[in-house]
Subunit: 470 residues, 2 copies
């Protein structure tokens, strides 16, 4: 196994020698990230590490981690095996990760467009769900065995993660790890935008772009918790049935229609709240669509993402069209423009915890429920990212840390070289899979909703190989 | 009496011949605004018009009105006598005005800096209080004799005003006409800024500039209706005691201290809500003082007002420094920038009425109470404006339509020619008058809190001369 000979007791990233410069604040980068070819790494990962028995656990401890090795296309995120158990600082817990959420910021980060992710090599991932495996000093409100969801600036796309206990939230009864991994970023984002900045009240109207995306679905569900809110949602036509069922009052196909016109037809005076993940010229449109006392909340620049690598033209265009507003215009229009990004809010755990508590209450009351689009193995992260970036998802794209069955793995290494022709395959799959209505049970070994292309559901019951844990 | 021979039956502004072009949407500009010298007009106004008895009321009906005759200094607002009873359209009521509120927008308007006031000649005035004297067709919820406060785009600084019934609000039991005239603009502005855009919640912190001004005092009182809100308020030192008593937790003398530093000393992370009436570079400072999830609500450009006439340098400076914000900065800061101005919200009477209902409830519960700085006769409007513009007021500056006692009137005409040396006099008066703590009774004949300079309170009990009404 690669890197097996490295000294590894109680190491963590800051005091490790690495081939590349250490990333800023990595919580648990391991000793010697040697970046073996992805195929070899994936092999290694599947090999149970529990064969050597007399070596102290800290040295033999290995875990798989996704690592962004440089900015660029989907193939820049590689699966590696890390060695050495992450040391816990006071206030931290070690989480055995079961599932991770993908977010738009991860896609931006891969292209070098998200400054909250340290420079590569670094493990991305802002949210995950798992089980507390160890607790550090001064941790009083978490114990070994607690099922938790985690919110962190980065570093959660791996099998174990050391994180501040204050960044964890207990998973309520009945919520699967996938749901739990799908929840924090999307629901906190939607909640704070709608109810803190947006101050959403009964009888108001909301425009939700990408209404079939993770934030879009969360926002729609949250809108429905307020009496008589009208939801306008943009999505391609094939997704309209699903988002209508989810609560969108007026679905709009942005590919064939001018959404501004469509909104004006129904709501001539404009809208009370607009959530804008697009940026660029769409922010201008949104601003003009606001009613007096309306709130525009911009939370991304999805328009900047064109293709899998950084597209300078798209970036420049987005910058050129970037919305800039004078106060006099705001005053004369009685309008509000807000910016939100959870990734820049990591110092505000108190605010976030407040929001999370309310969200958990809503979950327990059955008023919200994360919708999983698809679940992918760590080895499939490229495909998972592609699905999201090409907007073929309805709901959340989730990674599972469960090992990939041998047969599925064989074609894996080549996948990363495939180019855009894969797109069509993804789309076909989309139409086949709409299995989200079914409640996912907590059985982790039953979740491959989206297995690799050619190989169909075989070997699904293979048990997760657990590394030795304390 | 000037203009007495003009035909005046059932006229209103739109079908009158005027010497100057008709103003946009004037509700009740009278026939023939002949602009006699102010002194003559004031004389005329005091003469009871009820001497000719057989002429129809519509022709003999006269009333005094303040008219902005052109952009410029305090002397541009002149008292004139209008003739002809304003005709009521469906949905309108005729209000016999008892008291009017002064607002910063009126000062801006006089200098030509407020585009919601039609071109001169025009009667300014966005709020007043009085008694319903007639109701038009289709008015079901107001009757003759109702005491109301009125909110309108302009045209309320006169003895009678025809306004949409939907722009009137019943005055609650126990509220004086002065209080009622002081309430609408300041409290609706403060309420909507704090609770709609600001979404103020317990334990938050607020910065209120000009905390001794009309909006400042209203905002302070409204902040105190929320649990554990910390209020930072700027005002000159002489006003600190008063604003502290009113609820400002940390008064800051902006003339001698850097308010940004003062706030940071107490609240290093910044503030949750900032109300900014200043504009220019102060908006930048406010933005930087916001906490994550903080809201900056800008509602004016007081910095533009320097001197009694339009100061091109001040205007240019304000424009040059005008705050302009990119969405990327908002996103990375998780901040909100809002603009508010009630004058641009006149199409939204439903929103305004909702706010007003809550404000009335708070008044009845004793949680808010307008603070009157001083009350002035219509003849004294120049001094009233000056007091406000020079920031010598604590609370609201109010006009009363009660006729001015003869003795006080003698020196009136000359007053308008006086220049800035009057400033000192005003200041001296300030120190003498802090009579607002006393509850004002509803007796309209007892209100001259701020009589003209040299003449002290004499002839105060003179009864208001009522024109013949129906």
């Amino acid at each position: 196994m690669s890197g097996e000979d490295a000294p590894a007791q109680q190491q963590n990233a800051v005091d490790q020698k690495q081939e590349t410069k250490p990333a800023e604040e990595p919580k648990n980068e391991p000793a010697k990230t040697e970046s073996p070819p992805a195929a070899a790494t994936a092999e290694a990962a599947a090999t149970p590490a529990a064969t050597t028995e007399k070596v102290p656990e800290e040295e033999t401890f290995t875990y798989r981690a996704l690592v962004l090795t440089g900015y660029g296309g989907y193939d820049k995120v590689k699966l590696q095996v890390k060695k050495g158990k992450p040391a816990l600082k006071a206030g931290e817990v070690l989480v055995r990760v079961k599932a991770c959420g993908l977010n738009f910021a991860d896609l931006m980060a891969r292209q070098g467009l998200y400054d909250r992710l340290p420079s590569p090599p670094v493990t991305p991932g802002m949210e995950c769900a798992g089980v507390v495996e160890a607790v550090g000093e001064e941790v009083t409100d978490r114990k070994v065995g607690d099922k938790v969801m985690v919110l962190n600036r980065f570093g959660l796309w791996q099998e174990v993660a050391a994180v501040p206990a204050s960044h964890t939230f207990l998973i309520p009864e009945g919520m699967s790890f996938e749901e739990a991994a799908a929840l924090p970023v999307n629901y906190i984002t939607a909640y704070m935008m709608l109810f803190d900045f947006g101050n959403l009240r009964p009888n108001q109207s909301v425009l939700i772009h990408a209404a079939a995306g993770g934030v879009g679905i969360a926002a729609t569900q949250l809108c429905k918790t307020v009496k008589d809110v009208t939801v306008f949602g943009t999505a391609s036509a094939s997704k309209h049935e699903t988002i209508s069922e989810g609560g969108v009052t007026h679905p709009i196909d942005y590919r064939t229609k001018d959404y501004v016109e469509e909104v004006r037809k129904i709501s001539p005076k404009g809208l009370d709240v607009i959530l804008d993940p697009l940026g660029g010229s769409d922010t201008h449109k949104a601003y003009n669509l606001l009613k007096p006392m309306g709130k525009l909340i911009t939370y991304g620049a999805a328009n900047m993402l064109a293709g899998q690598k950084k597209n300078l033209l798209a970036v420049a265009k987005n910058w050129y069209h970037q919305f800039s507003i004078h106060t006099l215009s705001l005053i004369q229009g009685n309008k509000s423009v807000c910016g939100f990004h959870l990734g820049y809010l990591d110092g505000e755990m108190e605010l976030i915890t407040q929001a999370m508590n309310t969200i958990m209450d809503l979950y327990k009351e059955g008023k919200i429920k994360p919708r999983i689009d698809s679940t992918w193995h760590l080895e499939q992260v490229g495909d998972a990212m592609r699905k999201m970036q090409e907007r073929n998802n309805i709901g959340k794209v989730v990674l599972t840390t469960e090992p990939m069955p041998e047969e599925e793995k064989k074609e894996e290494p080549k996948k990363e070289d495939k180019k855009d022709d894969k797109k069509k395959d993804d789309k076909k799959k989309d139409d086949k899979k709409k299995d989200d209505g079914k409640k996912e049970e907590k059985k982790d070994d039953k979740k491959k909703e989206e297995p690799k292309k050619e190989e169909k559901k075989e070997e699904e019951k293979k048990e997760e190989v657990k590394k030795e844990e304390k």
